[in-house]
């Protein structure tokens, strides 16, 4: 079985890797994501913010030049961050450092791999480099996290080699509605799938345009076969706990922390909210006196660009 990432519950090769990437098998890639479970990953733009995030208890940081809220405000083409900045952030903290590459831009991913980031986010928040194809993530030793809006999209990304999935939400808005919609869509589809007759799974796989074997595996597991975080619009501890109660393994917080009045306190409160997501008393305690939350954007406005819809 060497050279293929097989899932024991099925025994007969549900997830097989297409590459002969022996040094960094899929199990190790998923393993790091598993170590992040129950944690919060925060967007930071410099070493100082990274230190604040680490002190607050973030389980990883996402190194960026601009947080999504600023990308929205300033417009223009958003690209991979300067490797120099990522290196500085890497030096400043001991927790894992992630960085974003444009969708389909495999050279940016190669550069990020070369400077030794721990995880690459192939992100729709940056401007697309390829509007048809995603990066073939099997070719990399480094693990990838990818966004999704529904089950089909999640399983397509996993087939391309993503070792971690985040539901997209709508980054940089401070508005949780899209995140809820996407998490509910994924979880709802999984619930439908679980109660489905095995004979119907073929058509269901076709309908959601996902590989049959992964659909079947998801059905048997009753969850995505990789770690599943929520993202896009989390601004308060309650938002984070909502995502956890809907069934996510952890939360990405982008603009929500460092666009608020008191980043250190808010970061710490969101970390605690994710740990104690099912304890309303504790959530009430940590939500007290956090200062101003980020302003946020109303998504009923037609002029707001939808990042989530940029890729399929």
């Amino acid at each position: 079985m060497s050279g293929s990432g097989v899932v024991t519950v099925y025994g007969n090769g549900a997830i097989t890797e297409t590459s002969t990437n022996k040094k960094s098998p899929f199990s190790v890639k998923v393993g790091l994501a598993q170590m992040l479970r129950g944690g919060v990953i925060m967007d930071v733009v410099n070493a100082e913010q990274a230190r604040i995030a680490e002190e607050a208890g973030a389980c990883a940081v996402m190194a960026l030049e601009r947080v999504p809220a600023d990308i929205r405000a300033q417009g223009g083409v958003a690209r991979m961050s300067d490797p120099q900045l990522i290196k500085e952030i890497k030096r400043a903290v001991t927790i894992p450092v992630m960085a974003k590459a444009r969708i389909g831009h495999f050279v940016e991913a190669q550069i990020l791999e070369a400077i030794g980031v721990d995880y690459v986010d192939e992100s729709e928040v940056l401007t697309l480099a390829d509007d048809e194809n995603h990066i073939n993530k099997h070719n990399f030793q480094i693990p990838f996290v990818c966004g999704c809006r529904n089950l089909g999209e999640a399983l397509r990304r996993i087939r391309e080699g993503a070792a971690m999935i985040r539901t997209k939400g709508e980054a940089g808005t401070g508005n949780i509605i899209e995140a809820v919609r996407h998490v509910r869509s994924v979880m709802g589809d999984i619930r439908v799938l679980r109660n489905m007759d095995d004979d119907e799974v073929f058509t269901f796989a076709k309908k959601i345009s996902a590989p049959y074997d992964l659909v079947m595996q998801t059905k048997q597991l009753g969850r995505l076969p990789v770690v599943h975080f929520a993202a896009g619009g989390v601004a308060t501890p309650a938002d984070a706990a909502l995502m956890m109660q809907l069934g996510c393994d952890g939360v990405f917080v982008g603009s929500g922390v460092f666009k608020s009045g008191d980043p250190a306190r808010r970061a710490r409160a969101i970390v605690q909210a994710v740990t104690h997501y099912s304890d309303p008393g504790m959530l009430a305690d940590v939500s007290c006196g956090l200062g101003e939350a980020m302003v946020g954007i109303n998504l009923n406005d037609e002029k707001v660009e939808r990042y989530a819809a940029r890729s399929e």
Binding site: M1, S2, S4, G5, V6, V7, T8, V9, A14, I15, K23, S24, P25, F26, S27, V28, V30, G31, L32, Q34, M35, L36, R37, G38, G39, R51, E54, E55, A56, G57, A58, C59, A60, K90, A92, V93, T94, I95, P96, E113, G116, V117, D118, Y119, Q141, I142, P143, Q217, L221, G222, R223, P225, V226, V227, R268, V271, Q272, T275, H276
Partner: protein, 260 residues
């Protein structure tokens, strides 16, 4: 009584799933008072900095130290090993709080970042002796720590050769200062009394021998306690009555185990 799993962050679900597989009940521990209801504790893998921060927010360290001092079995995997160590090198600026108790020096990110994470077949003669099975174990090392130096009372249960990449990195200098012998091989599993520490993640593999080994440590411990306090109530009775059915009925779904 059940086995507690510190559930601040990290792979606590995976540990509970393995315990369930071998018929033992695992309980999530998030508050100091919950420690009173468990016979033993597993500190899972995760980000040690994050876990230390959360433990600090909830004033967990005094309770954890007390738990270790009482001689109750505690097992740390990866981040948990860092928690249990008396001394840690390569930490974040300002250091982090530790539970301590295990007389050894641990290097936090000895094997480097994610791209240097690896799987290796490690030799575990002690575990094979006690639990049977093959003499090797599939060790998953993820941004793993390593044990550079151990005190006289600590038994080393497994070692791995040091990858060339580490030998040529800056870490080599730090190692040289602590223990020059570590340039060839380092300890990755140790035991001292009732404390067990592993740098890899047995909870991510299908092989549950490490968990069975730990459960035996717990049973031995409660047996001893029983002899000492024969007259007291049954609070320290054996935690595992072969195949505790209630422990197996937990419907929670876990991630699949990926083979290399």
């Amino acid at each position: 009584m059940a086995i507690g799993v510190l559930a601040f962050q990290g792979s606590f679900n995976e540990h509970i799933a393995v315990l369930r597989r071998i018929g033992v009940k695992g309980v999530e521990i998030r508050k100091p008072e919950q420690l009173q209801n468990v016979a033993a504790l597993i500190i899972p893998g995760g980000e040690s900095t994050t876990m230390a921060k959360l433990a600090e927010f909830h004033n967990m360290f005094p309770a954890l130290r007390e738990f270790v001092k009482m001689g109750k079995p505690v097992w740390g995997t990866c981040a948990g090993l860092i928690f249990l160590a008396n001394k840690v090198v390569g930490q974040k600026a300002g250091g982090q709080e530790l539970v301590g108790g295990l007389d050894c020096t641990v290097h936090r990110n000895f094997f480097g970042s994610q791209i240097q994470s690896f799987e290796a077949e490690i030799s575990v003669p002690h575990i094979a002796d006690k639990e049977g099975g093959p003499p090797g174990f599939r060790g998953v090392f993820i941004r793993a720590p390593a044990i550079l130096e151990v005190g006289p009372e600590v038994d080393v249960l497994a070692e791995v050769p040091v990858p060339d990449k580490v030998k040529n990195s800056d870490i080599a200098k730090e190692i040289q200062e602590v223990n020059p012998e570590c340039l060839n091989k380092v300890a990755v599993a140790v035991k001292q009394g009732n404390l067990l520490g592993t740098a890899f993640h047995p909870e991510l593999t299908a092989d549950s021998r490490w968990h069975m080994y730990f459960v035996k440590m717990v049973n031995d411990q409660s047996e001893e306690a029983k002899i000492e306090t024969e007259t007291e109530t049954e609070t320290s009775s054996n935690i595992i009555k072969s195949g505790d059915s209630s422990a197996l009925q937990d419907p929670k779904i876990e991630l699949p185990i990926y083979l290399p």
